[in-house]
């Protein structure tokens, strides 16, 4: 019988090996750029929120943060809350409400009809992407070590309910949940002596050149759709060759390897969240990546959060009525999530750009969910929070629309990164960029 990773990790005594804390060895200045670099981070939060404590009170420019967002108070002037933005595209189509919602969150698209089982169309396929993070990565991510990161914290499902990032229709990019792999992705080969590194580069160039000629050879004998897939593969190999042969940013030292963490266990959620977010902020500091999505569990979300004393299934907790004390535990989770984001904003606000501004002024953090309220599975009045100046929106506001389409918010986000779109995702749910943002 195979020895599972967990068995190795737990060792004979069943004790989880202590993890070193990541040491932020990177400088507190952003990696030298003449122009501040734009960045985008999408945060997925499952099954809606406890709405009575989520939405601010007050009017557009003079509002009070809800209880959930108290930890974000220092950055209030850099936040934007929405009211009246509906994820209308997710109201109908294949799949159930959570699947449609998570699929549409960053794509504005419907789900494919999915695996043929009974002609009833009810089986969710994957979203007919791409997602905004991938579109933005195409605009600003080039030349970085990792054009985009998809991170997860206990986002273990490998189906439509477990993915927010899409390269294209039916091209889901599943989240990486293991901080050790995140570390390797970002900091592979760092710390290697220069002479050895040089030898490795020469070898890799030869190997990857040969791989590219083999890709070209195979292309001659496959169908047209497969030729397109091999072209995509070829592009990725070329990109990697370029990255590997480019010198890594010398000012950025690698952090300590986080080592093995039992990332599939609920008890490790806070540890994994901290490690993943620490690695992400380091990567942003070092300009190893500019685009990321982070999923905090998946849309089925049958998890407990022992570190918050939530010992039952959160998906089920979100189904209780608003007055039910059980449902208040959802607010506890939402508040914890806001705290995780507060740390992210603090980090971004501490990265000094060459022109004196802060990285947060050039980053957009987009926090959202698959439904607004789990108990009715509504896609109306979605709980969206935006933070930072990346898209050029006027921040520090609580903007109220009436039955606005969330697709139009996605259009506005893309346009904030230099796009010139009128639709994104399913065109029937687009009226043009959202008003009153810039």
């Amino acid at each position: 019988m195979k020895l599972s990773r967990r068995q190795i990790l737990r060792g004979a005594g069943g004790i989880v090996v202590g993890l070193p804390f990541l040491e932020a060895l990177a400088p507190h200045k952003a990696f030298a750029q003449s122009m501040p670099q734009k960045r985008f981070i999408g945060i997925y939060h499952p099954n809606g929120v406890y709405t009575p404590q989520w939405f601010p009170t007050g009017d557009e420019n003079n509002f009070t943060l809800g209880p959930i967002h108290q930890s974000l108070a220092p950055w209030k002037s850099k936040l934007l809350f929405t009211s009246g933005v509906d994820m209308q595209v997710a109201v109908s189509g294949p799949g159930e409400q959570h699947q449609r919602g998570i699929g549409a969150f960053l794509t504005g698209a419907k789900l494919d009809t999915g695996t043929f089982v009974g002609n009833d169309g009810s089986r969710a396929g994957y979203a007919l992407g791409p997602s905004v993070d991938q579109t933005i990565a195409g605009m600003i991510g080039q030349g970085t070590r990792v054009p985009s990161l998809q991170l997860g914290v206990h986002a273990l499902l490998s189906n439509v309910a477990g993915v927010v990032s899409y390269r294209g229709p039916n091209q889901p990019l599943l989240a990486q949940n293991d901080p050790r792999v995140t570390f390797r992705t970002l900091f592979m080969d760092s710390g290697m002596p220069p002479t050895e590194m040089e030898k490795l580069r020469v070898r890799r160039r030869s190997v990857l050149d040969a791989v590219q000629t083999q890709l070209a050879a195979l292309k001659k004998s496959v169908s047209k759709s497969d030729q397109a897939r091999l072209d995509q593969h070829l592009t990725l190999v070329r990109e990697m060759e370029n990255r590997l042969t480019a010198l890594p940013p010398g000012t950025c030292q690698s952090p300590t390897d986080p080592g093995m963490v039992d990332f599939e266990r609920e008890a490790e959620i806070p540890t994994v969240a901290r490690l993943q977010m620490d690695l992400l902020t380091l990567a942003l500091r070092c300009d190893l990546t500019r685009v990321a999505t982070v999923m905090f569990s998946d849309a089925m979300n049958h998890v407990a959060m022992p570190h918050l004393n939530i010992t039952s299934d959160i998906h089920n907790l979100t189904h209780y009525g608003d007055g039910d004390p059980e449902r208040l535990k959802v607010a506890t989770r939402d508040t914890w999530q806001a705290g995780v984001l507060a740390t992210l904003l603090q980090e971004l606000d501490s990265i000094q750009e060459m022109d004196g501004s802060k990285a947060l002024d050039h980053t957009l953090v987009f926090w959202g969910s698959d439904v607004s309220r789990g108990n009715v599975h509504s896609h109306d009045d979605m709980p969206f929070m935006l933070a930072g100046g990346g898209a050029g929106f006027r921040m520090g506001r609580f903007v109220k629309w009436t039955n606005a389409y969330h697709n139009d918010l996605l259009v506005s986000i893309i346009n904030g990164y230099g796009g010139n779109l009128t639709t994104y995702g399913e065109a029937a749910f687009c009226r043009g960029p959202l008003t009153n943002l810039t």
Partner: protein, 533 residues
Amino acid sequence: MFGLLAGCKPGGQPPIVDPPIDDPRVDCVPSVTPGTPLRLLTRAEYDLTVRDLLGATNRPSRDFPREPLAHGLDNDAVLNQVTGAHVAGYLEAAEFLAKDTLVNRRSAVVPCGTTDQACGELFIATTGLKAFRRPLNAEERANLNTLFTTINATEGFDGAIEVTLQSMLQSPQFLYRDEQALGPVPMPVVTLGGFELASRLSYFLWGTMPDEQLLEAAANGTLDTPEGLEREARRMLADGRSADGMMRFFSQWLYLDGVENTEKNPAVYPQFSPALATAWRASLELFVKDVLAHEGTLSALLTSNVMYTNDAMSMYGPAAPSAAFVRNEMPGTQRKGLLTQPGFLAFKAMPDGSSPVRRGIFVLDQLMCEVPPPPPAGANITPPAPSVSTTTRARFAAHSQSDGCIGCHRFIDPVGFTFENYDGMGLWRDTENGEAIDATGGVKISRDTQVIGDVTGVAELSAKLATSRNVHDCVAKEVYRFALGRSLTQADTCTTTLVGDRFMKSGGNFKELMLAIVQSDSFRRNANPEMTP
């Protein structure tokens, strides 16, 4: 395929009614269905392939991206596409594997005692044949020879072997299975050549690359005749590796990863520990392997009285002195078949209780292929809160009475209620909160009238399912989908019907099922998607 549960129409989907099960359906003409595109090796396939190619047993694909699942299966060719993370993973794995092989198992790849150019070329031809699962064409051989010569000049022979091996392991000819047999002149329907068929066979039956004998059969034309194909397939099914192939299907069909990651509320189940969840998975895996090794039938899968336990699972009855698993043949009817295995029951449950719904849906969806549609928009699908004064059954029965729910739950719940003798840990119980368990229920509607009827407990339910033609059809269809690595279309219906028929007539023998799939037109031939209207 799917008789929509009549009266169960949330969301307003039109009912689709398949013919009743006893219709004569075996006079259809199978159509040659659209071919599978290039198939990227899954992580499991990659690991077994490098085990057989290089003797590497450390699961180097561990850190590759997960496969997006298609209704539970990991090998959908359309969904499995290379990403940047794949390319980085392939590079790291190839560098590790090439070095590891040369240091520890040099003779596995170096075919001669000399270190000259001729030996290098022999290495490229022999290892290339195995890695690409067919002879290299002139262009591919020239590419590798050039690389070998270049590195040989700077690093010497072993360095050149290592680098060339790295390159092979990152080549698309290794990473993808090309099973299209598209020739220079496009044809609407093609019969797969020997090497394409050999790859299909070995990855379906064994989950890994062809062995030497299979490559030989591909080269000498044996696979081109129905008799030769059957002879080779039977040889492979008799080989121990066929259990690996079948286990790959069952691991996904049962979602063993999910079983291992099951968590319980410690306030309700203080006996729970992650080590127990690991044991649940292992126990369930051993159970399926046991059935495959002995009876090898669907009926045995549903009715075998075997249960594997170790010391972590002593709460289930049989004493086991250590972490090593013990095979128990259980008396009575408490442990009879897959649906009574602790790992299955604990996984298909809530963190703080049993779940008639999850268990009922498994039976309807994965054994009967008669899954109800998802709940309608706006339905309150909050499970009833746990209680210390009533039974789960009573709570769920009251809960499912609302208009939006009753349409489907009157079919789901009676199936799930037969499991109520098992709590959220899969432990047997006669009472719950002081009240006697009521495990009566059963299948209320199905296109297969034979399974309909009242039963008490899972053993009786399983006995009915074990002889159902519909259950055999359903499982056969999933194995067929697994074999082809693509979603099915209406054009597959005739073939899946014929395959299901042979499966049933063989007494539900899994090896005969696999053979029937191998012999189907869909497996041996391809319609060219670019020439199909």
